[in-house]
Amino acid sequence: MDSKLAIAKSEPIWNTNVRVISIIAGLIILLFALPLFGMNSFYLHLFIMIFMHAVMAQSWNVIAGFSGQISLGHGAFFGIGAYATSFFYMEYGVTPWISIFFGMLVSAIFAVLIGIPMLRLSGHYFAIATLLIGISFQVVFQRWDLVGAASGLWVTMTPEDSWSALQFHSSKAPYYYVFLIFFLITFFLVWLLSRSKLGYRLRAVRDDPQAALSLCINVSNYKIIAYVISAIIMAPMGSLFAQYILIIDPDRVFNIEISIIVLLITVLGGIGNVWGPIIGAAILVPISEYSRIYLGGTGGAVDLIFYGLILMIICIFKPNGLISFVPKDILERKKQR
């Protein structure tokens, strides 16, 4: 008996699969090297969109996949982030590097304010409430003159490329690296989160709130914590996106489509799994971009039909997302029978 316990205790807490680690390290190096091989601006744009959507989906994954609360209004935090950098830069000349944090802070505050009453609602009611809150942000910004109302904000352009203003006109490569670094940092932190005490407790809240309560876990507080973390991840993507396109308006950055796409990406890739959003974004974003190119304005909604089809196929055959194609021995520990 004792020896079995001793063996169990001597096991490492996490599997370290050298093969997987080297593949990931190789991919990261490749991503840093890619622009050096003279990628044209379309491919740079494609990768920027993949990084951005992967982070946005990861934000949604934290609240929905880790803590089990379906939010349908996550676009609100994206919009807050976008407006935070643009507004403070235009009005007060604050560098986006600082106002990114304003965006995170304001998003976190709204997450608390929304979360305290709403997360007491269970299941579908939280989803419906967030859907309406997401839409109401768009309506408010459409009518708010201080931030340009419906016509939005046209960020003052710098004459030259500028790291301090986070504006690059001659090449997309600097944007590529900025998004790539945010993407890597976010995934690293969320990966740490999933392995932490907090990660364990969030999964407990997701799987069975009552059992979690019996284990000293304050379920409502943990849901709010997840919601705040999720908002803090989302806001910087809005900020960076605003710097990338330099024209923002409520129809674009508070669009309901943002809230839907993060859900689609996560479910496609694998909800509740740290790697799911990357896989989902790497597949859905190219479909969206290519359908935009080949079908143009007239076929604007064709990508949505694709999404619908893919999602149906996934739900029927691989309800845990594409991540479930990854061999089991990489994801799970060998079982003793």
Binding site: Y200, A211, S214
Partner: protein, 240 residues
């Protein structure tokens, strides 16, 4: 020393009086068995004590602390563990992860929480199943999982709802042995049990409920011969 004192605890759902003026206390280190026909209010009583349901009136004291009206996470944090009649494992997580979630209450460090969880899993004899998902375990094993998970928070008082309910005859003796082994660790146990032979075997005292009311409280022998209990619950039970 009294670990739990319950006074005049009442709860009604709409017109149904689920618990009516229930009073009893539990001596530290003992096992209290709770019996009664279906609908007698046994599980409701557990929910009232552990804070999962708010009682209407009454008093609940854990040692000297008034825990009436406290939220379930605060009550469990004081050292009151519980299992559920309808099992609630974290199904998509492994046995080890299930128990670790409880162990984090006492150990902040992940390695120490893991080791603590492993010791408890070993205690409930499931060490070989530690990396199995909870949904892959049998009902008997899931009962052990719930006990292990509740033990992981290091409770002084453990409320167990139907340890032997829904498992086959072959599995029962092992679970009963486990309850006895648990008692030896010093933890106080309140257990709901339908199997009358088991309750008589393991309990120091037995509380009998019927239609939300306490109808008897005493040592197993007294209860077995109590006329009200026989009428309400044991029926034609022959105390041979």
């Amino acid at each position: 020393m009294k670990i739990l004192t319950v006074e005049n605890l009442s709860k009604s759902f709409g017109g149904i009086q689920a618990n009516r003026d229930i009073s009893f206390d539990v001596e530290e280190g003992s096992i209290l068995g709770v019996i009664g026909p279906n609908g007698a209010g046994k599980s409701t009583l557990f929910d009232l004590i552990t804070g999962f349901t708010k009682a209407d009136t009454g008093k609940v004291k854990f040692f000297d602390k008034d825990i009436f009206g406290m939220s379930p996470d605060k009550i469990s944090n004081l050292g009151v563990g519980r299992t559920f009649q309808k099992l609630k494992p974290f199904a998509d997580q492994t046995l080890l992860e299930n128990v670790m979630i409880g162990a984090f209450v006492k150990e902040k460090d992940i390695k120490r929480a893991r080791d603590r969880a492993l010791e408890i899993i070993d205690f409930v004899d499931l060490i070989e199943k530690r990396h199995h998902f909870a949904k892959e375990l049998s009902t008997g094993q899931r009962k052990r999982l719930e006990m292990a998970r509740a033990m992981a928070i290091d409770p002084k008082l453990l409320l167990m709802d139907e340890v032997t309910g829904g498992v086959d005859q072959k599995t029962i003796p092992g679970l009963v042995e486990l309850v006895k082994k648990l008692k030896k660790t010093g933890v106080t146990i309140i257990t709901i049990e339908h199997n009358i032979n088991i309750i008589m075997e393991i309990s120091d005292n037995v509380l009998a409920l019927d239609q939300g009311k306490r109808i008897a409280l005493g040592e197993p022998k007294e209860i077995q011969n109590n006329k009200q209990v026989i009428d309400a619950y044991l029926g034609t039970f022959d105390a041979a």
